[in-house]
Symmetry: C2
Subunit: 353 residues, 2 copies
C-alpha cells in the first residue's frame, strides 16, 4: 500500500510506504533515535563501518598521502524537483566538491536536521535517493547524525554532507593554479539546476521543461586526470553560477579570464526562462557541470575525453586565461563587444541547493 | 562601541561589535557570500588550508594508517547557556566523538545554516567561541559552508561540524570491545549540560546554579591512551545520558553492565533540579564527560591518570562488565536493590545539543 502526499503545499512525486511522522523524541539519543536510524538509515546506507555504530567511523588511509575534505549543508526548496531531490543533491554536491580537488571521493558523512512532523515516508524516499547517488559515485556513508527541531524551526529537513577523498600523489589542482595561456573548458549547458528548482517552486509563472543536471562528476574527473597531467583548475559552478566561479578563480590565480558568450551553451528552455525573468544564465546554479582550466597544448585531448564520458558529452571550450586584467572576468559578447562579468552581486534564486 | 542584544527573547550575554543582519544574499554564492566569509570566518579560523579557498581542504595523512570520521549537527537552544554556546558545543561535540575512537582529532569542517535576520554580531561572537575551543583542542577548521534560509525556517543558526582524527597503529577502541570483568569508569558528575541548558531556557521555573560541562576531551583521552593499552571502550554520554550510552555498549558488546547508584557523582544542584522535575540524572546529557571501559588490571592506573588531567579530576569507578544479562544495564540502587536501566524511552530535554 502506497500513497502520495503533499509537503507544505508541494506534492512529493514518489509514493511513500512508511507511515508516521517525525516527533521530538526521534532526536533524543534514546530508543526512538536508535529505532529511527535502524529503520530508515542503516538499511539503505549499510556498510561495515556504519554497522559498528560507534561515535565515529574508522577507515583505512594507509595508501594515501593527502586527502581532500569538504562540507556542504543542503537546504533546497522544494525537496523534490525535476531531475532530483535534496538527497541526491546532498551526495552529488559533496562528491563534486571533493572531486574538484582532483581527489577520488570515498567517504561521506550525513547530518540530518529534521522538522517535527515530517513524514517518515518522505525521509525514506530521500534516503533511498542518497543511496542510489552514493552507489553511482562509489562512495560510502560512514558516519551520520540526526537532530529534530520543533515544528516551524526548519523546512521539512536539511542535510549536511561532508566528504573525504584521496588525492593521487602527483595531482596539484586548485583555484590558484590558472596560468595565462591556459584554456577554459565547460562540461555542458549552464543554468539547468537553478531553473528546474525555480520551476518546481512555481515561481516562474509557467512550467519550464527543464531538468536539473544534478549528477556525480567524479568519474568524469577521474577520466580527465587519467588523460592529462596538465589540468590546473577544476571547479563546479554551483551557487553564483559560472560567472562567480570564474571570478573566484581569476582572483585566486591573479590572472584574467576571457570567455566568449556565443560559446557558452544554454538550453532553449533555460534561455527562455532567463529572458522572461531578466536573469543571466551565467549566474544560475549548476549541480552537474564543471569548469576545467588546462594547459593549451592538451586542451583538445582533454575535451575529447570529456565528450566521451557520461556527464561530459556536451563539453566545450569557452575561453582562455590571460595576464590582465588581474582578477577579472571578461565576456566577448555575441555582437562583438567586451564587458566585465562580476561576481554575483545579490541573491537571485534563494535556496536552490 | 558595543551593545548587548536579545535574540528571540533571550539575551546574548556577550556584547556584540558587528552591526547588520544576515540577508538571503549572504547565501547566494556571490559577492555577499564571499564578503561574509572573508569578514566573519576567515579571520578567526585562519590557517593555510582554509586560506586557499578551494572547494575542499587538502591535508597530509601520509603518516596515518587509519582515520576516524564523525559528524554532528548542533541545534541547541538557547544559543548561549552557562558555560558555553552553540559554537563551543559544535567544536567540542565533534572533537569528542573522534576522540572516543582513540583517535587524535586534527581537522574540523563547519557548515552553517543561518536564519535570515540573524545579527551578524551574534555570528561573530559564536565564531570567536569556536576558534577558542578549536585552539584548546588543537584542531584546525579546514572547510566550511554557509547557507541562509528564510526568516522562520531555522532558529537563528544551526552548525554542523564533521571531524577527522588520526588513529595510532595499535589502538582498537569501540563499543563492541567491552568484555566481562572489565571495569567501567566515568570522568565526573553527570547531568550538568542538560540542566544548564534547561535552566538557561527558563524551563526549570527557577535558576539552577549549574554550568555546562562542555569541553574538549581529546587531551584527557590522549593521556589515558599513553598510560594503558587496555582501554576497550570510550564513549561520551551526550543525548540520552549515561544510561543510553551504557545500553548501546552492552548491546554492541553482547555483555551486561552493572553500575552502582551511590558511586555515580551528581552535583547537588543537578540532583535538586532532577528531583523537582522528576528526571533521572542518568538520562541527562553531558558534553564534557566520558565513560571508559578498561581491563580490571589497569583500572586503578587509568583512574589515576584521569584524575591528574583537566576534565578528569572527578573521575570514578562506577561499575563493571558482566556476562549476563546480555545487552542489559543493571543498577544496584543505594538502598540495596537492583533494577534494569533501559535506554531513554521518550524525549525529556529537546534541543540540548
Amino acid at each position: 500500500m502506497t500513497e502520495t502526499i503533499t509537503i507544505q503545499g508541494l506534492v512529493c512525486p514518489v509514493p511513500i510506504q512508511k507511515r508516521g511522522q517525525v516527533i521530538m523524541g526521534h532526536g533524543s539519543g534514546g530508543k526512538l533515535s536508535h529505532d529511527l536510524i535502524a529503520d530508515l538509515f542503516y538499511p539503505p546506507f549499510d556498510n561495515p563501518v556504519l554497522r559498528l555504530s560507534n561515535d565515529a567511523g574508522v577507515v583505512d588511509v594507509s595508501t594515501a598521502d593527502r586527502i581532500a575534505v569538504s562540507t556542504d549543508s543542503h537546504v533546497v526548496w522544494p525537496l523534490f524537483f525535476p531531475g532530483g531531490d535534496i538527497g541526491k543533491l546532498a551526495i552529488c554536491g559533496t562528491v563534486n566538491d571533493v572531486a574538484m580537488m582532483g581527489a577520488k571521493p570515498s567517504y561521506i558523512t550525513a547530518g540530518f536536521i529534521l522538522e517535527e512532523g515530517l513524514e517518515l515516508g518522505v525521509l525514506e524516499v530521500i534516503a533511498a535517493s542518497m543511496r542510489e547517488a552514493a552507489a553511482e559515485a562509489g562512495v560510502q556513508i560512514i558516519a551520520g547524525d540526526t537532530k529534530v527541531v520543533d515544528k516551524g524551526k526548519a523546512d521539512a529537513l536539511y542535510i549536511n554532507t561532508s566528504g573525504i577523498g584521496v588525492l593521487q600523489r602527483d595531482v596539484t589542482i586548485g583555484g590558484e593554479q590558472a596560468r595565462p595561456g591556459d584554456v577554459v573548458l565547460l562540461s555542458g549547458p549552464v543554468g539547468d539546476h537553478g531553473i528546474a528548482v525555480l520551476s518546481a517552486r512555481g515561481e516562474l509563472g509557467f512550467e519550464a521543461d527543464v531538468t536539473s543536471d544534478v549528477a556525480p562528476l567524479n568519474h568524469l574527473v577521474s577520466n580527465m586526470l587519467a588523460a592529462s597531467k596538465s589540468i590546473h583548475v577544476l571547479r563546479d559552478p554551483t551557487r553564483g553560477g559560472v560567472a562567480s566561479a570564474l571570478n573566484e578563480i581569476a582572483k585566486q590565480s591573479g590572472a584574467g579570464i576571457v570567455i566568449e558568450e556565443n560559446k557558452i551553451p544554454v538550453r532553449p528552455a533555460v534561455h527562455a526562462a532567463c529572458e522572461m525573468l531578466g536573469f543571466d544564465p551565467l549566474y544560475i546554479a549548476n549541480e552537474g557541470k564543471l569548469i576545467a582550466i588546462v594547459a593549451r597544448s592538451e586542451a583538445e585531448d582533454i575535451l575529447a575525453v570529456m565528450r566521451s564520458t557520461r556527464y561530459g558529452e556536451e563539453s566545450v571550450i569557452i575561453g582562455e586565461v590571460v595576464e590582465k586584467p588581474v582578477g577579472r572576468v571578461l565576456l566577448k559578447t555575441a555582437i562583438g563587444g567586451t564587458r566585465i562579468v562580476d561576481m554575483m552581486a545579490g541573491e537571485m534564486l534563494p535556496r536552490i541547493c
